[in-house]
């Protein structure tokens, strides 16, 4: 059974929702990435979304964009991401890891080699921001061979017809984008998100996790009323911009624990 399925099954038995933090590999420094990942797990993360640095992250808002810029400037790329995952797996064989990437780094390596390396490193799923279902078949075939899940996005404006199509191609979970915008924006209307997530859930058997714009325990708790998981990225990454690493790590741990507790209370 895949780590993602076991994870969601286990959470279901505990009547809990998944807390899914995002960080960009190599930000603020490559040598801190593995330590940061273990800290995320210790602070309540069930799954980790690991960003693959890219020079042109056009779907990301200023906070995560800056994290990419910093990692890219330090020469970090996909090859280092595999190293980070392998090293993380030495101590943690349980926490599912989802790579969040743009397509070009994967294309430059080539689909088959990417799937092979991701599998060896211990990656569980892949979400490619600029690879919609229509363009995904070649990569999906390679990922399927090594049992790596492929996660797709559903947006507030995605039609029911597309949701069905996305559901058929998705495995792992469905990533519901809470707003029409970039990562780290403000969610305009939580009730609407809850409503939409409930709607999406009627159309899929997969877990639905919500990301973009989740900033605190309150929002996480409200969203997890409907969603199976909550993704938090920019709010954590921002701490790494604002503070030196030791302090940022403490703040990230606090923030994540708060969210974990708020979500648990809500359940």
């Amino acid at each position: 059974m895949s780590r993602l399925i076991s994870c969601f099954n286990e959470l279901k038995q505990l009547n809990r929702k998944a807390l899914i933090p995002y960080i960009t590999t190599g930000h603020p420094e490559l040598k801190l990435s593995v330590e940061l990942m273990h800290l995320l797990v210790k602070s309540g993360a069930d799954i980790i979304e690991l960003g693959v640095p890219f020079s042109d992250p056009f779907a990301d808002g200023p906070v995560i964009e800056k994290a990419h810029d910093i990692a890219v400037a330090k020469g970090v790329g996909l090859s280092h991401v595999f190293d980070v995952v392998s090293e993380f797996r030495v101590l943690d064989k349980k926490t599912p890891i989802v790579l969040m990437s743009y397509l070009n780094p994967i294309e430059m390596l080539n689909n088959a080699r990417f799937a092979e390396k991701a599998n060896i490193a211990g990656v569980d799923a892949v979400l490619i921001v600029d690879c919609p279902p229509e363009e995904s078949s070649a990569l999906a075939k390679e990922l399927n061979q090594v049992d790596i899940d492929m996660i797709f996005l559903v947006s507030p404006n995605t039609s029911d017809q597309r949701i069905k199509q996305i559901d058929q191609l998705s495995s792992g979970y469905i990533y519901y984008v809470s707003l029409k915008g970039v990562t780290g924006s403000n969610i305009p209307d939580i009730d609407h998100v809850v409503q939409r997530v409930n709607h999406v859930k009627t159309m899929t058997d997969l877990p639905v996790a919500v990301g973009f714009g989740v900033k605190d325990g309150k929002t996480a708790a409200e969203i997890s009323q409907a969603a199976d998981g909550v993704i938090v990225g920019a709010a954590l990454v921002k701490e790494l911009h604002d503070h030196i690493p030791t302090i940022a790590f403490t703040k990230i741990a606090e923030k994540l624990s708060d969210m974990r507790q708020a979500m648990n209370r809500a359940e």
């Binding site: 042109d56 056009f58 779907a59 947006s155 404006n157």
Partner: protein, 408 residues
């Protein structure tokens, strides 16, 4: 140099592919907007009211048709093929960009959009967009890289005079590719009222096809004018290729005319053996995905997009329109390059021989013509797309000459 014959040109397919290139590599949230655009484009393409309005604007506002000018002095000097200029520099705003700006802005208006956004490199597309937006009473925001703003200060002011808001982009390499990123972020955040008026034949479908449709008026006119003036089709067409809009505009109506050689000229910057160039097709490009389409790009092995370089901001982009990628693979277009130095030489030569100051972008195409025309017979004809005028580049050239022009 023999180019492949294409009997029936059918691209793009329904999903916007040109062979393996093109497509729609965008985030999910943009899909409804892209679908809405695709639908509107296919409806208005066949709408006679829309076509009439477009034709009127092209005739009376842009000043079409642009002349096909026989460059007699240059021809005599080079001593070979007869060289004709397709004078897109005489268009309103001074370049071919206005052709697709007018078309897209009219479409935006019909779609009920009230706000237009665009990216710009040299500033020509930004100026063209600001121009049509103000004419149609649409709000206009132009994204421009900080480095490009320094190179093209006059165009920045021109856009502001035209009522546009110019937003400086300070991320990444601070050039055109980063301006595209910023425009995409704006679009995805303001889908309901905003139309992204893309400046070239790239991006997700339907942009490459839509911009080609609006630009191909250049090639259609050139074909007709060539027959009127010379009684035959030209032997060769030459155009510079940044994103590739002026080249596709000229080439497209000739693709099935196998006897007409098509040559696209990229910017070789400081030379293709240095990292400072913009040769995606003619030298070191790789097939990858950037800004919504699969095409030839400049990328390192980790997939990071490499900064390009050219003396001309309009050719300074690490990707190229997917149709050019396909035309290269199909062997229909021959892609070559010219260095900064060769372009500057052409810039000066054409200015002195013909009394026409060409844009530095265009000067790359002219640099190839200078090399190629003497190798051809005097009965043969070359048409080069004189895609823009060089007034905007005066500061750049003066600086190279060690002259500081007085400002204010």
């Amino acid at each position: 140099m023999k180019s492949a014959e294409i009997k029936k040109y059918i691209w793009p397919d329904k999903q916007g592919h040109f062979g393996e290139f093109g497509g729609q590599f965008i985030a999910e949230t943009l899909f409804p907007a892209i679908n809405e655009l695709q639908k509107a484009f296919s409806i208005y393409l066949k709408d006679s009211d829309f076509q009439r309005e477009l034709d009127e604007d092209l005739a009376f506002y842009v000043g079409r048709p642009s002349p096909l000018y026989f460059a007699k002095n240059l021809t005599q000097y080079l001593g070979g093929a007869k060289v004709f200029f397709k004078r897109e520099d005489l268009n309103h705003t001074g370049a071919h960009k206005i052709n697709h700006a007018v078309g897209q802005a009219l479409l935006a208006k019909r779609m009920g959009k009230t706000r237009i956004i665009a990216e710009t490199g040299a500033g020509q597309h930004g100026v063209a967009t600001a121009t049509v937006a103000t004419k149609l009473g649409l709000k206009c925001v132009i994204y421009m890289g900080e480095n490009d703003m320094k190179r093209q200060a006059a165009n920045v002011y021109r856009m502001k005079l035209l009522g546009a808001e110019v937003k400086v982009v300070t991320t990444g390499s601070k050039t055109l590719k980063d301006a595209v990123n910023a425009a995409l972020r704006d679009w995805v955040s303001n889908l309901d009222d905003t139309f992204y008026l893309l400046g070239t034949v790239l991006g997700p479908a339907p942009y490459p096809e839509m911009v080609r449709t609006f630009q191909s008026v250049v090639g259609r006119e050139a074909k007709r004018q060539s027959i009127e003036l010379t009684g035959k089709l030209p032997n060769m067409l030459v155009a510079c290729v940044g994103g590739g809009s002026n080249a596709i505009g000229l080439f497209y109506p000739f693709i099935e005319d196998a006897a007409v050689q098509l040559v696209g000229v990229e910017a070789a910057g400081k030379g293709i053996d240095t990292p400072e160039h913009a040769c995606r097709l003619s030298a070191h490009g790789r097939v990858g995905v950037l800004h919504g389409n699969r095409t030839y790009i400049m990328s390192n092995h980790e997939g990071h997009i490499l900064p390009s370089h050219s003396i001309s901001a309009g050719l300074d982009y690490p990707g190229v329109g997917p149709e050019h990628a396909w035309l290269k693979e199909a062997g229909r277009v021959n892609y070559v390059n010219a260095t900064d130095k060769e372009a500057l030489h052409a810039f000066r030569l054409i200015t002195l021989k013909e009394g026409i100051i060409p844009a530095l972008e265009t000067s790359h195409a002219l640099a190839y013509v200078i090399k190629q025309a003497p190798l051809m017979k005097s009965s043969e004809i070359i048409i080069v797309n004189l895609s823009g005028r060089g007034d905007k580049d005066i500061n750049t050239v003066a600086k190279i000459d060690g002259i500081t022009l007085m400002e204010n």
